[in-house]
């Protein structure tokens, strides 16, 4: 494959309180084996050399597991490739000459810090209300004392593989964090270790979710479609059943 040229339309916003706008850039001679973020690095190098302010982007592991990066590319959280994080998108997936729009993950619960960087600490606060087993370190019984079926362990791991990127929130028309929260609740609802405090967990995490300003889930399924880990909305259903049981009984 030959090298390509692209037009970019990128969201620029100086600070949390300032107005933002889309700004056009061109990038030329881009290798198809370059990652999307490497292409953005190249653009930023250009801007720095020209004395302009580079585009603020956050990224870290660049292998799809830390959940730091997260851009809305061509209108889709993490771009159009399924089960793929922003840092795992490669330029071979775009057509030569294509115009690519790049925006931050938008939600009122994710205030913009600068350009494409948002504050997602609301997700940490949801976890702090019960996204764990509430036992102290030390005194744990032997790890094989409690057999757990392979299927159960796999289901729990499916849920627990969430990377906390917030794409589900960005994709949801209601800005709901139901997939994020549901996955954590579902992990512990499947496991015997999560049993003692399962009622408290679901009630308090759901309450925090509301408090942060995330919307409700109305089953659009957009979250599942963009989730880089392929987490299923069945975990939201699991959360609802947990919530229902905890509220009634």
């Amino acid at each position: 494959m030959k090298n390509c040229n692209f037009k970019l339309l990128v969201w620029r916003q100086k600070g949390p309180q300032e107005p933002g706008k889309m700004v056009a850039y061109t990038v030329n001679d881009i290798s198809p084996d370059m990652s999307f973020l490497e292409m953005m690095d190249l653009l930023n190098e250009d801007l720095i050399k020209k004395g302009e302010d580079p585009i603020a982007i956050d990224s870290d592991c660049r292998e799809g597991i830390c959940g730091t990066c997260g851009l809305v590319i061509q209108g889709l959280a993490h771009g159009s490739k399924q089960k793929t994080c922003t840092c795992q998108i490669y330029m071979r997936d775009f057509k030569d000459g294509e115009t690519i729009t790049v925006e931050p993950f938008r939600s009122s619960a994710f205030p913009i810090i600068k350009d494409l960087v948002v504050n997602r600490s609301a997700l940490d606060r949801i976890i702090s209300k019960g996204g764990y087993v509430a036992n102290n370190i030390g005194g744990a019984p032997d790890a094989n004392a409690m057999p757990i079926s392979k299927e159960t362990a796999e289901l729990a791991l499916d849920a627990s593989s969430c990377i906390g990127c917030g794409a589900c929130v960005a994709a949801c028309p209601n800005s709901s964090a139901a997939l994020f929260t549901g996955a954590k609740i579902s992990q512990y609802a499947h496991l015997p270790q999560g049993s003692p405090d399962r009622k408290k967990r679901v009630l308090e995490m759901a309450q925090q979710m509301d408090k942060e300003g995330f919307g409700n889930c109305s089953n659009h399924g957009e979250c599942e479609a963009v989730c880089p880990q392929g987490i299923k909305i069945s975990h939201i259903a699991k959360m609802r059943r947990e919530f229902f049981k905890a509220s009634l009984l």
């Binding site: 084996d33 190249l42 302010d53 990224s59 870290d60 799809g64 793929t84 600490s121 790890a143 270790q193």
Partner: protein
């Protein structure tokens, strides 16, 4: 820096307790002091870093009742780079009934590290490994299980037993989320306060003790001071010194380097690990390298064509024309030799002109036999996410042709700040955990042992040993209005002001790449006196370039990635000199440190125990000045150093 004469300081003592090796930790715990529950709440502990070591330490200390403040450079503690560890975590559980034991884990780890670690520390690590697994399972970490419901194990390099616990290819993620959960639980109770987006830029020392830190708020550029009774640094390793590594982009050496500048000794800096199974470099624009878990070597075979410059695709090269070089040279361990051995051999076959791919700097990792033998479902279950990752990055589908191209890359640093048996540095009150310290892996770390060490330090060592320090000193905090804090703040402000608005021609990224390339070529998998001198002469030129020709954009009061990177780059440039100097001083080969002058006839690493059976701990003397070398002699009472052989 003058490097032909190295000033030598007083020898160091690691303070490993006396007594039989299996009783050392027990008797040490019985002898150290306790802080009463009522007094714990009077102490504030600052924890820098929120990976496995930092998060587990902070959670454990919060549960005990200390006031804990956690600082991380990410927007959430869950994003620390421990999250990216793939393969697994070792523990001497002997669940598979394959004759594993604490002794074997201890001896594999000490031997794997080529007898350059402390016996007492390594034994403690092996001893505590089992409690880590119990703890993680109790937290709900969904490890892989067998159909009967018990935990599953797999093999890793450098061991002849299966002792590695795993959760698909995302073990680090699951363990970190466990520790992060415990941490967030303490945050909810208020015992732990979390400060995200803070980068530690200085250690504050008062009356010879660690009293606090100064950080930069990465969101708004504010310089902030925090005072505590003790400081724990758990900020990981310095692989990114080489620019291209498997570390995350934000992993950096600044926190440990600035502790070093304040007097903390830096131990064995030249011990860096180059991991054999990474996706090869494919272009000069590349920002990082990606690891493919070592677990692939359970079922994969490494080979190159026997003929030089063979252009045929791998599946068209017949069996008899392939060189399975690890199986050929090391029949006992085969593809499961330790990382340093596998990497060095991959380099050797590429140097011989047998490398594959466009750059000829790659070897094959072939899973065809396993795919035939065990079927697609097995391979998918074991390595599904790794195959997907390989396909995304290279555009080649390993399910179609299960032969991947791999090449070694910087991955982990065994060196780090010097600590004693209590994990305390030579500065009282400064504790260093996880990859940031030097303590347990000697000259080479075995696979699945980093996670083990991080959690061991945080969950089960520091909660005991920090109490001993606090109970003994009873020292007060230092006010952040004191001259020590104010002076540190002023120095940081000045260094920031000097950088912003620098109007040279070279970007931080360009200069970092140059430093990385110099280090990779001269202080990489093979080192010799000449290459190390080349590095030591080249680095000052890059430092000059940094001072005279760097361009840094933006301002100091906003989110400014360029400024962050520039601050980190200068620290790498100083550290690079120390890494090279240490490598030059250690004129022996051991583990990942391969001095070409010191090898056997077969090309294996040749240790020189009579001269180098010690830890090199360096004391900073000022920029450009030759540091003082303190030696900690290593004694092996229980496992006598033998020639490491995996044949």
């Amino acid at each position: 820096m003058i490097y032909n004469t190295i000033p030598e300081g007083t020898p160091l003592n690691g303070k490993v307790p006396a007594g039989p090796i299996e009783k050392k930790w027990q008797s040490h715990k019985a002898s150290i002091k306790l802080v009463s529950p009522a007094n714990k709440k009077k102490y504030t502990v600052l924890v820098v870093g929120s990976g496995l070591a930092g998060a587990s330490a902070a959670a454990a200390l919060g549960e005990l009742g200390y006031n804990v403040k956690v600082f991380c450079i990410h927007d959430s503690p869950r994003r620390a780079h421990s999250i990216a560890a793939q393969g697994g975590i070792n523990a001497a559980k002997n669940y598979p009934n394959d004759n594993d034991s604490v002794w074997r884990l201890f001896s594999d780890t000490l031997k794997g590290g080529d007898f350059r670690a402390r016996e007492g520390n390594v034994y403690r690590l092996a001893e505590l490994s089992m409690a880590i697994i119990d703890q993680c399972v109790a937290q709900g970490v969904p490890f892989a299980r067998e159909y009967g419901g018990f935990l599953a194990n797999r093999s890793f390099g450098g061991a002849l037993v299966s002792r590695t616990f795993y959760a698909r290819g995302q073990t680090g993620q699951q363990l970190l989320l466990g520790a992060y959960g415990s941490l967030m639980r303490q945050a909810n109770t208020g015992k732990v306060q979390i400060f995200p987006k803070r980068e530690m830029l200085d250690l504050v020392v008062g009356e010879g003790k660690a009293k606090g830190i100064v950080v930069r708020n990465l969101e708004n550029g504010q310089i902030e001071s925090y005072s505590g009774h003790a400081v724990i640094v758990a900020t990981g390793g310095y692989s990114n010194l080489y620019f291209l590594s498997t570390n995350a982009k934000n992993c950096n050496a600044s926190a440990i380097w600035r502790c070093h500048r304040r007097g903390a000794y830096f131990a064995n800096p030249c011990f860096v690990q180059i991991h054999p199974t990474c996706i090869p470099v494919h272009g000069d624009y590349q920002s990082k390298l990606t690891l493919m878990s070592e677990s692939l070597r359970n079922d994969g075979r490494m080979w190159v064509p026997k003929k030089q410059d063979d252009k045929r695709p791998p599946n068209e090269i017949p069996e008899e024309e392939r060189d399975y070089f690890l199986e050929r040279k090391y029949p006992t361990y085969g593809n499961l030799v330790p990382r340093d051995v596998a990497s060095r051999n991959a380099k050797t076959v590429c140097d011989e002109g047998k490398g594959v791919g466009d750059t000829k700097r790659a070897v094959y990792l072939d899973l065809s036999d396993s795919l035939k033998k065990f079927g697609l479902k097995y391979i998918e279950e074991q390595y599904g996410n790794l195959f997907e990752m390989y396909q995304r990055i290279t555009g080649e589908d390993p399910y179609r042709v299960p032969v991947m191209k791999i090449y070694p890359a910087l991955h982990y640093t065994m060196g780090g700040l010097w600590v004693d048996y209590n994990l305390m540095s030579n500065i009282p009150g400064l504790f260093v955990l996880g990859e940031a310290n030097f303590s347990d892996h000697g000259a080479n770390r075995l696979g699945a042992s980093a996670l083990m060490q991080g959690l061991c330090d945080g969950y089960f060592v520091i909660p005991y040993t920090i109490g001993d320090y606090l109970a003994q000193t009873g020292a007060g905090k230092l006010s952040i209005e004191s001259t020590e804090f104010k002076q540190a703040e002023k120095e940081i402000q000045e260094s920031v002001q000097k950088l912003v608005g620098k109007k040279g021609k070279k970007t931080v990224l360009e200069l970092h790449r140059e430093l990385g390339l110099l280090m990779w070529n001269q202080v990489g998998m093979g080192r010799n006196q000449k290459s190390l001198q080349t590095a030591l002469e080249g680095i000052p030129q890059l430092q000059k370039e940094f001072q005279e020709n760097l361009i840094v954009s933006g301002d100091a009061n906003h989110w400014n990635k360029d400024l962050e990177s520039a601050l980190r780059l200068w620290d790498y440039m100083e550290l690079a000199e120390l890494v090279s100097l240490d490598a030059l001083n250690r004129a022996e080969s051991c583990g990942g440190h391969f001095r070409e002058e010191s090898q056997t006839e077969e090309g294996e690493a040749l240790r020189q125990d009579e001269k180098f059976q010690y830890v090199s701990a360096w004391e900073y003397q000022g920029q450009g000045k030759t540091p003082i070398l303190h030696k900690e002699p290593l004694e092996f009472e229980y496992l006598k150093p033998i020639k490491r052989s995996y044949k």
